[in-house]
């Protein structure tokens, strides 16, 4: 880490945290009107263009946003896509849980159905507890949900930024290392594959593009 330019690093960490939170929000939440209006606004497209300059998904998102604002796309279409990808265990369910992917590598070869593993979910929830975090009352998913893991990364980035702002380099280094460890121990092993599945199975360009961008962002983590 470059200690000379604390201001820049804190801003960088905070912006990383913001991107993790952005993706956590879209992965964890049904697309209600407020979320769709924000996500498919011109400002959102322009902001994403700055984060992912020249990426073809941005152009597709921009087109979709235009259609939505003109009333040519219904909110229900995105809601159904979200439900099928993240909530309802049907044909396009992406099984957005770490244990489902790691168990798939273990026993479920040749196209069998994945399942949850209390050991892995316990490890992940312990990682949250170490940061003094706990699930909200309304969250009803297993703790190893991909959105929850992005949320933890967001917290770790923001806490790192706060530590840098306070001049607590040791704490910032510790949090930065925690973030890297969590990424390596958990998200690295399955996050990209899960997001690829979302991308391939999504019915709408909204989730196809968001998954593609999330995967790109996740895979760029070691360089940050």
């Amino acid at each position: 880490m470059r200690q000379q330019n604390q201001q820049l690093d804190a801003e960088w960490e905070r912006s990383q945290g913001q991107m993790y939170q952005f993706f956590a929000t879209v992965l964890l939440n049904r697309p209600d009107q407020e979320l769709l209006e924000g996500l498919l606004s011109q400002q959102a497209v322009e902001s994403l263009q700055m984060v992912f300059p020249g990426h073809p998904a941005i152009a597709r998102l921009a087109h979709l946003a235009e259609e939505y604002r003109q009333g040519r796309r219904e909110a229900e279409e995105f809601l159904l896509d979200y439900e099928a990808l993240f909530r309802v265990p049907g044909d396009t369910f992406s099984h957005p849980y770490q244990s489902a992917y790691l168990m798939a590598n273990d026993h479920h070869k040749h196209g069998s159905r994945p399942s949850l593993d209390p050991c892995i979910t316990r490890l992940v929830s312990e990682a949250y507890q170490r940061q003094g975090l706990a699930p909200g009352k309304n969250f009803d998913e297993p703790p190893d949900h991909i959105g929850a893991q992005f949320d933890l990364m967001s917290w770790l980035c923001r806490l790192t930024a706060d530590a840098l702002d306070k001049g607590d380099i040791q704490e910032a280094l510790r949090l930065h290392a925690e973030k890297n460890s969590f990424w390596a121990d958990h998200l690295l092993g399955w996050g990209s594959e899960c997001l690829s599945n979302v991308e391939n199975q999504a019915n709408t360009d909204l989730y196809r593009c968001l998954a593609e961008l999330a995967r790109l962002f996740l895979n760029s983590e070691p360089d940050q």
Binding site: E11, S112, A148
Partner: protein, 933 residues
């Protein structure tokens, strides 16, 4: 900063204001455990968790028992135990963390708490006060029971009865027949169900302290003994095979329903689910459409007892279509097989057999094979000739494979199919499928195939089918060893206590013939020298695991000698054995059996015929060190320990009863210094702490579990309910990790050179289909006109053996016991679904009654009655205790049992049909009739 980085920051921060942040985590001071979507929170707050091993059936699954205020409130599966979870916990997992994870437990296991708190358990020692079997009892003290059993006397007003002290004499029973052994052999111990840890304890008592050879005549022959004997005659010191289900591609199960029974049922069912999800082919060969058949790719309803014919048909097709792994069969020794194709096993297919006497051709001790046209020692040849029919030094010889080919080609596939009652295509299709998965195909079987008079032959035939594709010990193939266990009795380099050999000062040597003649040769007896064949009753030199159904009839016949005292434990032979009800009158005969002491937890059908009942503990109040089947590929040593204080305080552990008797009798090896100087054996814990210590230290040096002291190591094991090797030790390269590395025998020289004690004829040493026969070798007179059906029974998934009828939960889910009959057969007899019918045989004209279930899921000509119901004691009827009638629960006696109707041997007339080699009782060869009542 680069413009890209600046744009990134700007873009990211701009996104933040567009909609509300929707994460799920928030800071909290109290870090709760995750209680949504993860493992269920335990409803029993503050409950103590004790891990033990189940005995709801014989699978020995782990239990995680929740106990509150000294009472069992819930039973779940032990997450450390490989029976209960595919991804069972790493052994070093903190036990407190493990409490938050539950393994699976089947309905029977979960319901065992009901049989523990069963109000109809016997609570005090009882002595009969009327004739034996009259149902009249009085409560006595333990001291009185011990005194009378040891000293004997005129105990019942019927004359002198010898007690244990008088029976323990080392004078010969019959000086003219010294091979029978001493009078101490006139004490016989007949446990129905007894597991490791406990069976070694009672062996030590009966054999090494008291001095009787009749140390443990347990239930195995009414379970599956011919399965074990048949495989022991194929493998070296191994008697159980199972498929490596998690890597197999094709499995054909004969005579078993792994989704209902087998070992361990819940692990096999779970593994088969993964197997089927992967596209594995499951085939069930069974006259009954079981729930396993419902999940199978194919169900093949052969006629009962024709499994060997079906398999011989498969072998015929395989030979005709060049689908036998001849390369594997041609390796005559371990080194050649390993170097040649990476096998860990080899076969005797190339060994030469003398056609004059059936023995292997040898040079000294070395078996000979033909290589390059010349005989050579098997150990020195890379590959030998498979088809040999020659003369060597004037002796006509054939290779084992030559003999197998000739045997298989005695019939065509069509002829084999006709025996089985199926179309030839059924055999051809399975032979093709079995040989289309390289070594990832397995033929497995269990008691439905072997509890016939031809059981051992069938076991060998099915076992040998696997050898023909060389699948033994391969990943995805036939597993003949399994993970096994640590040696709780000691004797390995790492074990601190060698209980098997040492730690028994003053032990005696038991000699002589077993009352059931198992492991004894008739030809070595004085009787044979005097009269030759046939013997008065069958002898079973190959029945290594006892002949349970033969014990009471032999006592009644006083053959080969009288018995003076029978001690039974968890024994219900008159209920559980085929035609066992015919043994009731035999057991009542006080002249033939002067003293019968039953150790039991209920007034069972058999214990009701005792002179004394000594009440023992329920398994949840007990110790043991049970083992698991080779389904489990990692080393597994479950430890049973009491989970709660005993429900009935005046009951005792089995070990305590025998310790008390031994101390009072002064038997060597009990009481002070009973296990050697400074080591007492005064209570069961003295024994079991040594067994668990052996497990804790492990078999190899420096392989102990964590812990600074022995006590800490023992606690480490007990906290986890045993010692369990981690999952990553299941495989080693392309093989299973703890693989069998020995010979696979197609030919049995032992069988070829032994003779049936009743017919004088030699046994068949090759795969063989033998039709059903009586003990004189006569084919069964089926009398199809009068008894046109064949009776079968099976183990339904919610019940086990004799013990589950006392559970209201289990009886609630199986409220009726159906007499299952094929739709077309029912129509001919005018029987509708739910009609009351009578099932009877030539051996039991009165028969049993039950409600008809008319179904297409049973082969025509077959009638099926599931086991475990139809009790006529066990708490279903009151008895007279201390002058008053006891309470009873008639619902325990609901349903009917198939056993009373099963056929008696037409020659012996007091025991069921039996396999003369393995000793298995026949459950599936009885012709019966049925009519509407």
């Amino acid at each position: 900063m680069s413009s890209n980085r600046r744009d990134f920051i700007k873009g990211a921060m701009a996104l933040s204001g567009l909609f509300a942040a929707g994460g799920c985590l928030a800071p909290t001071e109290k870090t709760d455990t995750w209680n949504k979507g993860g493992p269920d929170p335990d409803p029993a707050e503050g409950a103590k968790v004790v891990r033990t091993v189940c005995l709801g059936c014989h699978s020995a699954c782990g239990l995680q028992v929740k106990v509150k205020d000294g009472m069992v409130i819930k039973i779940d599966g032990n997450p450390y135990h490989p029976n209960n979870k595919e991804d069972f916990l790493s052994y070093d997992t903190d036990p407190r963390q493990a409490e938050k994870v539950n393994g699976t437990v089947c309905a029977k296991g979960g319901a065992t708490m009901q049989t523990m708190y069963n109000p109809y358990r016997v609570q005090h020692p009882l002595k009969r006060v009327g004739p034996r079997g009259s149902g009249k009892w009085k409560s006595i003290t333990w001291d009185q029971a011990y005194k009378e059993i040891i000293e004997g006397g005129d105990l019942f007003g019927e004359g002198q009865v010898d007690g244990l002290k008088a029976i323990r004499s080392f004078d010969p029973i019959d000086p003219a027949a010294p091979e029978l052994g001493p009078k101490a052999n006139q004490l016989c111990f007949m446990p129905g169900r007894i597991e490791h840890g406990r069976k070694e304890f009672t062996d030590r008592w009966f054999k090494d302290a008291f001095g009787t050879v009749n140390k443990r005549l347990d239930h195995t022959s009414i379970c599956e003994t011919s399965h074990h004997v048949g495989l022991e005659l194929c493998l070296h010191k191994k008697n159980h095979i199972k498929p490596d289900i998690m890597n197999c591609e094709y499995i054909v199960f004969f005579g078993t329903s792994p989704y209902e029974a087998n070992f361990p049922m819940q692990a096999m069912a779970r593994k088969l689910n993964f197997f089927r999800e992967r596209g594995g082919q499951l085939v069930i060969v069974d006259p009954r459409f079981s729930n396993s058949a419902a999940k199978a790719a194919r169900w093949i309803p052969i006629l009962p007892g024709t499994d060997a014919a079906f398999v011989l048909g498969m072998m015929r097709w395989m030979m005709d279509h060049d689908r036998v792994d001849l390369q594997y069969l041609a390796f005559p020794n371990a080194k050649a097989a390993k170097e040649g194709a990476g096998h860990l096993t080899w076969s005797d297919a190339t060994y030469l057999v003398r056609t004059d006497d059936g023995k292997l051709l040898r040079d000294g001790k070395e078996a000979l094979v033909m290589a390059g046209g010349k005989p050579a020692p098997a150990s020195r040849v890379q590959q030998a000739e498979l088809l040999v029919d020659a003369t060597v030094n004037g002796v006509k010889v054939k290779s084992v494979y030559q003999m197998l080919v000739e045997r298989v080609k005695e019939r065509t596939v069509k002829e084999y199919a006709a025996i089985c009652g199926v179309e030839p295509q059924a055999i051809e299709r399975e032979a093709d499928a079995f040989t289309s998965h390289a070594r990832r195909a397995v033929a497995d079987f269990y008691r439905g195939s072997v509890q016939h008079t031809n059981g051992t032959y069938t076991a060998r035939t099915i076992g040998i089918l696997n050898f023909l594709i060389g699948n033994v010990s391969w990943k995805g193939g036939c597993e003949a060893h399994g993970g096994s266990h640590w040696h709780e009795m000691g004797g390995k380099p790492g074990n601190p206590y060698n209980l098997a050999k040492d730690l028994h000062p003053g032990k005696v040597k038991a000699t002589g013939v077993n009352i059931d003649r198992h492991k004894n040769r008739y030809e070595e007896t004085s009787e044979f020298k005097q009269k030759g064949y046939p013997a008065k009753r069958p002898w079973f030199p190959f029945a290594y695991h006892n002949v349970y159904q033969e014990v009471i009839p032999s006592i009644a016949a006083q053959y080969p000698y009288p018995i003076k005292c029978l001690i039974t434990y968890w024994n219900n032979v008159v209920y559980s054995a085929p035609a066992g009800s015919h043994q009731i009158e035999l057991l009542k005969d006080t002249k033939k059996l002067p003293l019968h002491v039953a150790i039991d937890i209920v007034m069972g059908e058999t214990s009701s015929l005792a002179d004394y009942i000594l009440p023992c503990r329920h398994f949840l109040e007990d110790y043991a060190t049970p083992h698991v089947a080779p389904t489990i590929l990692t080393k597994t040593s479950g430890v049973r320990q009491p989970v709660a204080p005993p429900v009935f305080k005046d009951t005792k552990m089995l070990e305590q009863i025998f310790i008390d008797l031994a101390i009072k009798m002064g038997l060597p090896g009990y009481g002070k210094d009973g296990l050697g100087p400074g080591r007492d054996l005064s209570e069961p814990g003295d024994w079991y702490k040594l067994l668990v210590a052996n497990i804790a230290y492990g078999d190899k040096k420096d392989h102990a579990v964590p812990g600074a002291t022995e006590e800490e190591k023992v606690r480490y094991v007990l906290e986890r309910g045993g010692r369990f090797e981690n999952r990553d030790k299941a495989y080693k390269g392309p093989h299973t990790h703890h693989a069998y590395k020995g010979i696979c025998r197609i030919y049995s020289e032992q069988l070829a050179t032994a003779r049936d004690s009743m017919t004088g004829k030699p046994y068949d040493p090759l795969p063989f289909h033998e039709p059903v026969r009586d003990c004189l070798g006569r084919p069964l007179e089926e009398n199809k006109g009068k008894y046109p059906f064949r009776l079968l029974t099976y183990h339904p998934v919610y019940h086990a053996q004799a013990r589950t009828a006392a559970s209201t939960w289990l009886m609630g889910v199986t409220p009726e016991n159906w007499v299952q009959i094929n739709t077309a057969d029912a129509r001919k007899l005018g029987i509708n679904n739910g009609d009351l019918v009578r099932v009877y045989s030539v051996s039991n004209q009165q028969g049993v009654r039950g409600k008809a279930l008319v179904t297409q899921g049973v082969r025509p000509g077959i009638v099926v009655i599931p086991h475990s119901l139809g009790h006529w004691q066990y708490g279903s009827k009151p008895f007279n205790l201390d002058g008053k009638e006891t309470a009873a629960a008639p619902w325990i006696g609901r349903g009917c049992s198939a056993n009373p109707v099963m056929l008696l041997d037409p020659h012996l007339k007091d025991v069921c049909l039996q396999d003369p080699i393995g000793g298995s009782s026949s459950f599936y060869d009885s012709p019966i009739a049925l009519e509407k009542v």
